[in-house]
Point group: none
Chain length 452, copies 2
C-alpha cells in the first residue's frame, strides 16, 4: 500500500511536469476519496492546489474531508473566494463543522462569509455543542417525512430532497412541530403497497439521543442495537440531526485509542503516529514521566527508612524488583479490565461492591498460587532459608490483594467523582502499588526476622 502510494505520487509528479492535466484528471477520477487524500497530502502546497483543482467538484469535497487539518488549512488558504464557496457548499454539515473547528480564526471568518446564510446559521449553532457530544457528531442532512404522506409521496419527497442527504436509508417522521414520531426504512417504503400511509408502516418506537449526550454513550447504543443511524433530538424532543454509523466507528476507535494512551501514561494525540513530530511526541509523554519520577521518590524514602534492615539482610534487596513488579502487574490487570468494562458500558460504579468482592477472591487465588510456587522455588533453588521465604511469600499474598483492590478502586473512584477512569488510574497505580509492596515487605521482615 505504502509503496503503491509512492509510485503513484511519482507518476503524478511526472505528469504534472509534462502538464498532462487531462490524464491526471482521468486517473484521479477513478480513485476513492480516501486514497486521493492520502496521495495528495504529501505534495507541496503549490502542486497540491493544482492537483486539487483538477478534481471533479463532489470528489474534491469528499477527498478534502479525508485530509489532515494542516493540509486542509493550506488548501483553504490557497483558494480564492469562489473556490472556497464551492467547497463549503459541497460539504456535509457535520464535516463542515469539524473543519471549521480546526481552522484559525481568519480562515473561519472567510469560510463563514462564503457560506449561504442558512449554512452559516447551522454551523454557528452546531459549534455551540460541547466537544464529543451527539450534537457535535451529528449531520443536519437527513430525510424527514410527514406521517400523512403516502409511500409514493414519500418517494417523490426523497427524490426531490434526498440527493445530498448523507443517508436516506432511514427516513425520520416528524409531526407539524418537528417532534420525532417515527422512523421508516427506504426499503419498507419501497416494499409498501400503493397508497399506504407512512404512519401505518413506520416504526413508532424510535430510540433517539439528546444533543448533549456523550459520544461514547452514543457509540455504545449503536453497538448494542446494530443501528446504522440514530436521530438526535433537542430538549423538546424535536429532530435536529442524525448520527451515522461511519462517524460512530471513528468515535469507537478514537475512544479506544484514548483509553489505551492514558493507560500507558501518554497524553492522547489526535494525529497518526507517523505524523507526530518528535517534539509533539515528547510533549505527550514527558508530563507523566516527570510526575511518576518525582512520586517514585516516596518509594525511595521507604527504602531509606529501612536502610539498616537491608544492611543486615542484604538478600532482601534482591526480592524488591520481583515484589514491585508482581504488585504492579496484578494491579494493572484489575485496573485495565475495569477501565475497559466501564468504557464498553458493561459495568458502572453501582457495581462497585460486586466488583470489589470478585477482585478480592481473584486476588487471594492469584496471591496464594504465586506464593506457593515462589516458596517452592525459594526453598529448592535459592535456598534462602524458611524465614526469608516466608517473608517474601506472605508479602506476595498481601501485595497482590492490596494491588488488586487499589487497582479496582482507582478507576471506579475516578468515575464516581466525574474524572476519566483511564487518566488517573493506570499511571498513578504503579507508584501507589510500589509503596504498598515495600511497606508490606518491610512490615513482615520486621516481624518475622526481628529487625527494625
Amino acid at each position: 500500500m505504502a509503496e503503491m502510494t509512492a509510485t503513484l505520487a511519482t507518476t503524478l509528479e511526472t505528469l504534472l511536469r509534462q502538464k498532462k492535466f487531462n490524464v491526471i484528471k482521468t486517473v484521479l477520477s477513478t480513485m476513492n476519496p480516501s486514497d486521493i487524500a492520502a496521495l495528495l497530502e504529501d505534495e507541496p502546497t503549490a502542486e497540491l492546489l493544482i492537483l486539487f483543482r483538477l478534481l471533479p467538484k463532489e470528489l474534491a469535497a469528499d477527498a478534502f474531508v479525508e485530509m489532515d487539518s494542516e493540509v486542509q488549512k493550506n488548501l483553504l488558504a490557497g483558494f480564492n473566494d469562489n473556490e472556497l464557496k464551492q467547497i463549503v457548499d459541497e460539504l456535509n454539515m457535520d464535516d463542515a463543522v469539524d473543519i471549521v473547528e480546526e481552522m484559525p480564526a481568519n480562515l473561519v471568518k472567510r469560510i463563514l462569509s462564503q457560506a449561504d446564510p442558512d449554512t452559516r446559521r447551522l454551523i454557528n449553532e452546531m459549534l455551540k455543542y460541547p466537544d464529543d457530544s451527539a450534537g457535535s457528531l451529528m449531520t443536519t442532512e437527513y430525510v424527514d417525512l410527514s406521517p400523512d404522506m403516502t409511500a409514493e409521496e414519500a418517494i417523490d419527497h426523497i427524490r426531490a430532497t434526498g440527493v445530498d442527504s448523507e443517508t436516506v436509508n432511514l427516513c425520520y417522521v416528524v409531526d407539524a412541530t418537528r417532534r420525532l414520531v417515527g422512523v421508516v426504512s427506504l426499503r419498507t417504503i419501497i416494499l409498501a403497497q400503493t397508497g399506504t400511509r407512512i404512519a401505518d408502516v413506520m416504526e413508532k418506537n424510535v430510540l433517539s439521543v439528546g444533543t448533549h449526550e456523550d459520544q461514547e454513550s452514543v457509540a455504545q447504543t449503536f453497538a448494542k442495537y446494530n443501528f446504522t443511524a440514530m436521530p438526535v433530538v433537542d430538549s423538546e424532543d424535536r429532530l435536529v440531526g442524525i448520527v451515522t454509523v461511519d462517524d460512530v466507528i471513528d468515535v469507537i476507535q478514537e475512544e479506544a485509542t484514548e483509553d489505551i494512551s492514558k493507560m500507558a501514561a501518554v497524553t492522547p494525540a489526535d494525529k497518526p503516529y507517523l505524523r507526530l513530530s518528535v517534539f509533539e511526541l515528547w510533549r505527550s509523554r514527558i508530563p507523566w514521566l516527570l510526575i511518576l519520577m518525582i512520586s517514585a521518590t516516596f518509594t525511595g524514602l521507604i527504602i531509606t527508612h529501612y536502610e539498616n534492615a537491608l544492611a543486615t539482610y542484604v538478600a532482601l534487596t534482591a526480592f524488591i524488583p520481583m515484589l514491585m513488579d508482581t504488585g504492579g502487574n496484578s494491579g494493572s490487570q484489575s485496573t485495565v479490565t475495569i477501565i475497559r468494562s466501564l468504557s464498553l458500558g458493561e459495568i458502572s460504579t453501582k457495581d462497585t461492591w460486586k466488583i470489589l468482592w470478585k477482585e478480592v477472591r481473584v486476588a487471594v487465588l492469584c496471591g496464594v498460587t504465586l506464593a506457593v510456587v515462589n516458596f517452592a522455588k525459594l526453598m529448592l533453588f535459592d535456598k534462602v532459608g524458611v524465614q526469608v521465604s516466608l517473608v517474601v511469600c506472605l508479602t506476595l499474598i498481601f501485595d497482590v490483594l492490596a494491588s488488586k483492590v487499589v487497582g479496582a478502586l482507582l478507576p471506579l473512584g475516578s468515575q464516581k467523582v466525574g474524572l476519566d477512569p483511564a487518566v488517573l488510574a493506570s499511571p498513578v497505580l504503579t507508584t501507589i502499588v510500589d509503596a504498598v509492596a515495600l511497606l508490606i515487605y518491610f512490615g513482615f521482615a520486621t516481624k518475622i526476622l526481628g529487625i527494625a
Copy 2:
C-alpha cells in the same frame, strides 16, 4: 399467510391429480422463492419431487435454498445425478456451503461428485474459512443485480427478493459468472430516470475483501472508507457474501478489548466482566503473573551480583524503584503507542527504521529532561553529592533510551515474525527493561564511584 398457503396447497394438489402440469408451472413461476419453499415444504416427498421438477431452473435453486434442511435432504436424495448437478450449478456458493454443512456424509459425497471441479474446490475451501476471517464474518443475504437490468426491474427484483436480505441499501452487481462488476445504492436506483440501465449508474470501482482476509483488516478498511457494507469475493473475484457494518463494530470493539487485555498481561475473555467467574478471572490472569514473577528473578540476580556495591553505597538502593519505574513507563509508552498504531493500520513493519529513529530522538529529549530535573532535585533537596547524582542522572538518560528502543522493537519484531504484537510486548517489556535499568545503573556506579 398461513391460510393462503393452505388454500394454495389444496389447489396445487387438485391440479396435480388432474395432471395439469402446465397450469402448475405457470402459477409457481409467478411466485417468489420463499413462498414456493413454504408451499412445497409440507408436501409428501413424491409430490414434492414432481412439483419441484416443474420449476424453472433458477427459481428451483432459489426456492431450494429457502427450504428446511430436512426437506432439502429429501429432495437431494430423490434427485438423479443430472438433477443434482443442475441444482448445485445454480446455487450461490455460500448457500451451497451452508447446505453441504447440513447434509449427511453420503449426500455430501454425491453433491461434490456432481459439482464441477471448480465448484467442488470452492465448496471445500469455504468450509475451511478460518475463525476471524471475512469468510466467517460475512452474511449470505444480500441483493445482487445484473448490469442489464433497468432501474425499474431492479426495484422489482429488490421487492421480490429483498425482504429477507440483511441489507438492501447497497446492491451488488454481478455478471453472468457471478463476478463482482459494480455496486449501486438503493437511493441511486430510486433517484434514477425511468429506463436507466443499472450498468450506467453503478459504481464500477468496487472495493471488496477476500474470504480469508483477517477481520481486523476488514474493520480497518471499513473505518478508512466509511462503508456500511462490503462485498466478500472468493479467489476468482466472484461475490460470495457481504460483511455489514454492525458486525464490524463488534469486531472493532472486540479487537480493542483484546489488545488492551494483552497489554495488561491478561488473557482476553469473550464474556463481559460481570459474567466471568472468579475461577475464570484467575485463569486469565495467573499465567502471566507466574511467568513475570519467575522472570523477575533475573533482576534479583543482578542485584545480588552487586551486593557489595550496595553495601558500600546504601544510598544507591533507594533509587532502584525510581529507575525501574521510569524505564518501565518510558518503554510502555512506546510499546503501547506502536501496538495501537499497528492495530489501526497506521504503521507497518516496513516503517521500522523511521519509527526507531523517531523513538531515539524522543527518548533523548525525554531522558535529558528527566535527568536535568532530577539532578536539580538531587542537588537541592536530597543533597546526595555530585557523584551519586551523576550516576543516577546518566542512568536515567540511557535507561529511557534503551527502554524506548526495546519498547519500539518488541511489538515490531513480534509482528515481523508473525506473532501478535500485543501478546508478547507489554508483559515481557517490564522484565527486560528492569534488568537493563539495573545493568546501566551498576555500570555507571562502578565507573564513577569506583566500586565493584
